[in-house]
């Protein structure tokens, strides 16, 4: 087991190292204001590494350059968070302290705003996508009525709908949720529907033979059978919801990470832009990996059956 774990960790390290190298090399190869390598060249240590890599390509770096990681750290800790925390934590408890600290950091505040938007939209999409998809498994007429429109909307670029939503609903929080919702809904709905369609009639027959109620038919058969398909959709939905989140924050009322992206790029602060993008990437990758982990843990049967 130990050997296996260390093997796993060596794989993780190799993967991280590759990622860092690609980023650094790409950055320094095209050394300009628009590229922000991981470490930058602000500190003597980072500068030595940067000069070494640039040397591999026969270049030197003239100006000190902020890197993404130092930038990310400085943005996260921009305001005096520790002070903000202790200001409140003593009297109102640590939760209030954390809230105050988050508000004090521009980036964390933006991230928390964005996550709020993301989670609300994704949760609504998951609920409605799963329910509607499963309902269509049981009600063929509902499926016939909606199927083609779902497929059509699934293949419509949702970004194209944003001006439309802006015109009808305005640019506050809920219209943005609607954008995230629409981005995330269709992969979830479509996959759930595909799953529901492939539900073997045998299972329903067995449940009927054992005198199952409609309610038990859902809890015993339709939900457990269709859920893995929904989770595949959820993984795609997470990626699309993140696109929707950033797009709505840029195109509707600027807020959250989208706002950070816009303001930093207008200031030609590419390290800042990449720092914000890194957060979105880490958020998406973590969520998708956890859904995958959940799938592997609880719906093992599916890989074995198909």
């Amino acid at each position: 087991m130990n050997a296996l774990m260390s093997h796993r960790w060596s794989q993780v390290l190799l993967s991280i190292f590759t990622g860092l190298m690609i980023w650094e090399i790409a950055g320094w190869q095209f050394n300009s204001a628009f590229f922000a390598p991981v470490l930058g060249s602000d500190t003597p240590f980072a500068n030595a590494i940067a000069q070494w890599i640039a040397g591999l390509f026969g270049k030197t770096i003239a100006e000190p350059h902020p890197g993404t990681v130092p930038k990310l750290i400085s943005m996260l800790a921009a305001a005096d968070m520790r002070e903000a925390f202790w200001e409140v934590a003593g009297e109102q408890g640590w939760i209030a302290g954390v809230q105050r600290a988050v508000e004090a950091s521009t980036l964390l505040k933006a991230v928390s705003e964005s996550i709020m938007l993301f989670i609300t939209g994704l949760a609504l999409a998951l609920l409605i996508g799963l329910f509607l998809g499963m309902a269509m498994a049981r009600l063929p007429n509902l499926r016939i009525a909606l199927e083609h429109y779902i497929l059509a909307l699934y293949s419509t670029p949702m970004a194209a709908l944003i001006p439309f939503i802006l015109a009808i609903f305005g640019f506050e929080f809920w219209p943005k949720v609607l954008v995230v919702f629409l981005f995330a809904l269709f992969p979830i709905l479509y996959n759930t529907l595909e799953g529901a369609r492939s539900l073997k009639p045998e299972y329903v027959e067995v449940s009927k033979a054992f005198r199952s109620s409609e309610w038990r038919l859902w809890t015993d058969i339709i939900i457990p059978y269709t859920l893995p398909f929904g989770l595949t959709g959820l993984r795609q939905g997470i990626a699309r919801a993140l696109v929707g989140m950033v797009a709505s924050e840029i195109l509707l009322n600027p807020a959250g990470i989208g706002d950070v992206l816009v303001s930093r790029s207008q200031a030609f602060d590419m390290a800042g832009v990449l720092a914000a993008i890194t957060i979105v990437t880490v958020l998406g990758a973590t969520l998708m990996a956890s859904v995958r982990g959940f799938e592997n843990r609880y719906v093992k049967w599916r890989n074995a059956v198909r």
Partner: protein, 262 residues
Amino acid sequence: MSANAARITISGLGKSYGSLNVFRDINLQVGDIEIVSILGPSGCGKTTLLRAIDGLLPYDEGEVRIEGQLVREPLPGVAMVFQHFGLFPWKTVARNVAYGLELARAPKAEIREKVPYFIELVGLKGFEDCYPYELSGGMQQRCGFARALATEPNVLLMDEPFGAIDAQTREILQFELLRIWNMRRTSMVFVTHSIEEAVLMGDRVIILKGRPSTISDVIAIDLPRPRSRETLQSPRFAQLREQVWATLVDDVKRAEFVLNPA
């Protein structure tokens, strides 16, 4: 025919899909301790008939009564075993076996007690926490038996239960099923397309023929119970098998002729 009281009474039963008449005028009684084999060429509607008896499929004419109660939907005390096993791949063996009991709202204590008993009865002890895909076909059908038996039904409906199982396992399971039936003798309707199986299992063999099919012959099987592998070697078994074969074969030949009129 059977000395005991009739538990299942089928009278004038008919079923059509649109203009296609599957079977008509089926009259049959199944005793409360009796195995009735239903045999017929493929496509004769034996499986449809069994589903109509269970109440899974609506019928158009006549009626089915089980213990005097008119069958319009599956009744409690009736359990079915399927050719396709019908096990839920997301449930373990134990949870699959518990399924019928859970739906019958059996108390938790009863489920905890009965599930291991029936798992052991069908020879799946040690596989309680396996998923169906981890089992061979024969073991999956053992699980299907346990699920049906766990509700302690008075009527067992068998829909070609060994149809999807290899020959050797099939023979083993036939005797397993006879052993289990012997422990608690009830009514069983056994649909099959194997003549040997029909003769080995049944107290009577019902032969379905024609289009739409109906009962053409009823052959009493007077082989003593409990039946074992020796039964297969007995001259009486060979005789009965030949009799069933001869009754069935005309129809099969005619069907072949229609398909290949050379």
